[in-house]
């Protein structure tokens, strides 16, 4: 039965309630097993030797002394990881990122790894490995890397997307352009034009749990990996490919996850742990330190964005043009493209052009970070829109309402929108009590909008009815934000049983078909679709079994409120059979009862949000405090409102940290200066106000309950919302994120003089 994904506007019994999450008690009592909580009998401890240089040629690696140290069981270098990627640039880059081959490309790039009987021995062994480097000139700044004088990091990168293809290699791997209309004409039609260059510094997702895994490869070629990840199937596929294993022979079990936010969407040290285990013939545990997480996992890009927006005096935007430069770290990537696609998505624009320039620098390989690339683009666009409103003398909310995209609008990145929520979030913001609250001395208020695509992807689900009539649901998407509760609610809703009678688990990679990772806010949307379909398939089986028990035709049975009932009086006069009764009889009616589904979840509804921020600035120190913050976002349908609110608050908290204090600071030597939570300043609890949330529900027509992804959009507006509030508080437009006290004080002092 193909799943009818059309929105049904049904009345819910379970969906929309707020039961406890199934992983909650284990997490607050310390029972939950995270990556580093796994241990295997006889396991070795692995450590990675990392480059102290930003850019250098590896002349020689001498591991002989380390190998002789008692307790060392295996040492690997790139020689132990032959290139099996057969021309797949993406996989080759991943391999090279896991372990440097001819050159080290950033401070922290792995050059060798050791497995020893304990940490102390492994540490000693690292010190005994001698690496001869030929230091090369480096570049860590996104604008510097594009200059003709910059050292070229890869000599086989020729800019894609320009005609003709350049003959000289450069640090610009790709350019692209999106939009429609005629911006030249649009700017001629404008009465007022705002134009600035905006910069944002590199930030890290800041997940509390460092990457950790235990790898165990047997001499028969089978392997197991216990790992903290956002996508164990993806890790399995990538590790198997890099190590030359059959995918079926590598079984990956995902741990609980202490945060990922995009940073755990592809592999870092896992192939090293597997290669060490294979070489040592022992289980190997590899845990990154916090310093390693900062230096060599996958933070997001730093950016430099030229933004130009023009409008009529009545507030109609006539043209918008952005040029977005994002770096992908030391490898080619397409993060600027995401920025260019999302930049103007909130608005209905006649003339729009956004151009992306991808940049390679000597920094760690950039990974996704919650609505990757969108927050920086929104910072530039929403700052310019705010300034435009000021120049016109129009309320910034009204200006946005006037230009907001709606159903039927052709988006700046191509597609025509279905029903969307940007207008509704703006109207809600306009009428929100927060907007009308008085402001104190040295305080300012700002607002901003944000967009994210959302994603669906490959998903499958197994539902099993146990002999006592309770139900297990096995899914393959990692639960990063309460999705097990939401999936449990959807299964309970379909089956007509209590949420307490449904147990949702994340199955290992040998127990289900391939599932894409939890990214693109797809967990609850796509796994929800598969779960609803699997439940409907299980209901078919349950009805068939009831039919058998009653000895009537299968199509004469209907399922209502967790019971099989005869379809009508003609079908027979039988009392309803509960799921418990049908399950108890299963051994005599055809065996275990299950429902299965696999699908590619299409039609993830796009998502919009509007945020409001109040900030207070100390004019003598530049120190700022967010006093009040409100998130208004369209959820389509909030399956578990508490966890939807949690996503709204979490994204806002991360965005506020990014806006105010978080940044990667590289020294002139190309080394990261602040690889720790002391000097990489994420906000602590006392830094933030309670973040107020408002859930709007504009149903996604492509989901039976109307669900849209909610996890990412909440990080898109904060950079701009905070910047707009700050600009209103101090009377100066700040164009460089983070707006740390030294930057703010400098701007205030510059105005005074």
């Amino acid at each position: 039965m193909p799943l009818d994904t059309h929105f049904t506007n049904q009345k819910f019994k379970q969906v929309g309630t707020r039961p406890l999450r199934p992983d909650g008690v284990d997490k607050v009592t310390g029972r939950a097993k995270y990556g580093a909580d796994y241990n295997a009998p006889g396991q070795l401890i692995a450590l990675v030797l990392r480059s102290p240089h930003a850019h250098a040629r590896i002349k020689k690696i001498d591991t002989s002394k380390a190998e002789k140290l008692a307790g060392v069981k295996a040492i690997i270098t790139s020689a132990d990881l032959p290139d099996l990627t057969a021309g797949d640039r993406g996989m080759r880059d991943m391999l090279e990122n896991c372990m440097a081959r001819k050159k080290v490309l950033y401070d922290g790039h792995a050059v060798a790894a050791v497995a020893a009987i304990d940490q102390t021995t492994a540490r000693k062994a690292l010190k005994l490995i001698q690496v001869d480097y030929e230091i090369l000139p480096h570049v860590t700044d996104v604008d510097e890397a594009l200059k003709p004088s910059a050292p070229v990091i890869h000599n086989d990168i020729f800019t894609e997307g320009v005609e003709p293809t350049p003959t000289k290699p450069s640090n610009n791997n790709k350019r692209a352009s999106f939009g429609h209309g005629d911006i030249e004409q649009g700017f001629r039609d404008a009465d007022i034009i705002v134009e600035h260059t905006y910069k944002t510094e590199q930030t890290h997702q800041g997940y509390i749990e460092p990457h950790a895994c235990v790898a165990n490869v047997s001499p028969d070629g089978q392997g197991e990996l216990w790992v903290c990840t956002q996508g164990h199937f993806v890790y399995r596929n990538q590790c198997a490919a890099l190590l030359g294993m059959d995918i079926s022979k590598l079984r990956v079990t995902a741990s609980e996850i202490g945060g990922g936010f995009g940073g755990k969407t592809h592999i870092w040290t896992e192939p090293l742990a597997l290669a060490l285990s294979r070489k040592a013939n022992r289980p190997v545990k590899l845990t990154m330190s916090r310093e390693e997480v900062f230096r060599c996992s996958g933070p997001t890009s730093s950016t430099s964005i030229d933004m130009k927006i023009g409008a009529k005096r009545d507030g109609t935007i006539t043209a918008a043009h952005g040029v977005l430069r994002y770096h992908g770290g030391a490898f080619p990537a397409t993060w600027a493209e995401f920025g260019a696609m999302t930049a103007f998505a909130c608005y209905d624009l006649k003339n729009v052009k956004s151009e992306s320039i991808e940049v390679i620098v000597n920094r760690p390989k950039t990974a996704a970070y919650r609505a990757p690339s969108a927050p920086m683009a929104a910072f530039a666009v929403e700052s310019a829109v705010d300034e435009l409103a000021k120049k016109i003398g129009m309320d910034p909310v009204e200006l946005r309402i006037k230009n907001a995209a709606k159903q039927g609008t052709q988006s700046s990145y191509g597609p025509v929108y279905g029903p969307i929520g940007i207008g509704a979030t703006l109207e809600a913001a306009k009428n929100h009590a927060h907007m009308k609250a008085p402001l104190g001395k040295n305080q300012g208020r700002g607002m901003a909008c944000g967009f994210w695509f959302n994603f669906g992807g490959q998903t499958c689900c197994d539902i099993n009815v146990t002999p006592d009539g309770t139900v297990t649901v096995a899914v393959g998407t990692i639960d990063v934000g309460g999705s097990r509760a939401s999936i449990g609610l959807m299964a309970a809703e379909e089956l007509g049983i209590s949420y307490d009678n449904v147990r949702v688990v994340i199955a290992d990679t040998s127990s289900l078909g391939h599932n894409d990772m939890t990214d693109g806010s797809r967990g609850t949307f796509s796994t929800g679709l598969a779960t609803i379909a699997a439940a409907r398939n299980a209901i078919k089986v349950l009805c068939a079994r009831a039919a058998k028990m009653w000895d009537i035709p299968e199509d004469a049975v209907v399922w209502e409120d967790g019971h099989a009932k005869p379809a009508g009086t003609n079908a027979g006069n039988f009392p309803p059979l509960s799921i418990k009764e049908i399950a108890a009889a299963a051994g005599n009616t055809g065996g275990p009862i299950a429902g299965h589904n696999e699908l590619v979840a299409d039609g993830a509804g796009v998502s919009f949000a509007t945020h409001i921020c109040d900030i207070e600035v100390d004019p003598e120190t530049g120190r700022s405090t967010v006093k009040r913050y409100t998130v208004i976002q369209d959820a389509g349908k909030a399956v578990h409102p508490t966890y939807v609110e949690g996503q709204y608050q979490g994204g806002a908290a991360q965005g506020i940290g990014w806006a105010l204090n978080e940044e990667y600071i590289y020294g002139k030597d190309g080394r990261l200066q602040n690889a720790g939570f002391l000097d990489y300043r994420i906000p602590v609890c006392s830094d933030l106000p309670f973040i107020d949330t408002m859930i709007l529900e504009i149903p996604n027509p492509n989901h039976p309950y109307g669900v849209r992804g909610v996890g990412e959009t909440s990080i898109v507006p904060p950079l701009a919302a905070v910047a707009n509030a700050m600009s209103n508080a101090v009377g100066i437009r700040l164009t460089h994120i983070p707006m740390s006290p030294p930057r703010v004080l400098k701007a205030i002092s510059a105005r005074k003089h």
Binding site: R123, T621, G622, D679, S686, S740
Partner: protein, 286 residues
Amino acid sequence: MRYEAPETLKSAVTLLAKEKGLAFVLAGGTDLLVKMKGGFLEPDLVVDIKRIKGVFDITKSATGFRIGAAVPGVALGENAALVKAWPGVVEGANLIGSKQVQGRCTMVGNLCNGSPAADGVPALIAGNAKVVISGPKGKRTIPVEQVPVSPGRISLKKGEIIEAILLPKRPANSSDAYLRFIPRTEMDIAVVSAAVNLTLDGKGTVKDARVVLGAVAPTIIVVPAAAKALIGSKLDAAALEKLAAACSAACKPIDDKRGTIEFRTKVAGVLARRAAEIAYKRAGGK
């Protein structure tokens, strides 16, 4: 690595003096253990001083307060007499780390880190505090400001242990205050800090003052010109302006990940001014 927990100062000193490798004193451990776990320090000997008699005592006498080397931050905050006499000293020490860290961290440990940004130290220096040092050659007492030498280095010799901090008896109408700048609200290290210790006459005129700045030079610095700006004043706007200017002029900061030269220089004056106002009020000034 060897771990020793002697019960007398003498044996602690002997252990440290005899060790040929890298030796460290362990009190609260909030710095040492973190550095060891992070692989930044690999000591050959750790001498835990917490079993030594008196190290947890805060005693008040005719000459002032004696604070044992292992007294944790939280115990300072719970000692009403100490808080009343030296509120600036206590508020500085209580800013170190977090609630959990406060249960272990000590002022002596904070001092022996040799950090120019140590929160526990500027108010001690402003208060003319001294340290009692036990070593292979006996005991000596030196002013707190003579302990740090340069970032991460202190003047103690091999085998020496600071056993206690001495805070002098307060004249009437005296108080102190400490302020630090951090971008966050807690769990951070001072970008700039200022401690001010004041004694007023009966009419609210500043009789005596000492102004100390942290994180603006290789060591915590005393700023006599800033104190001079306050003495004889009732903390009027002109005196405060002069104080701020003197503090900014005394700064020799660096640009680093925590702040710029420009920022530190400006904010040092702002904090000193604000700390002076707090200390003045606490000392009974109006």
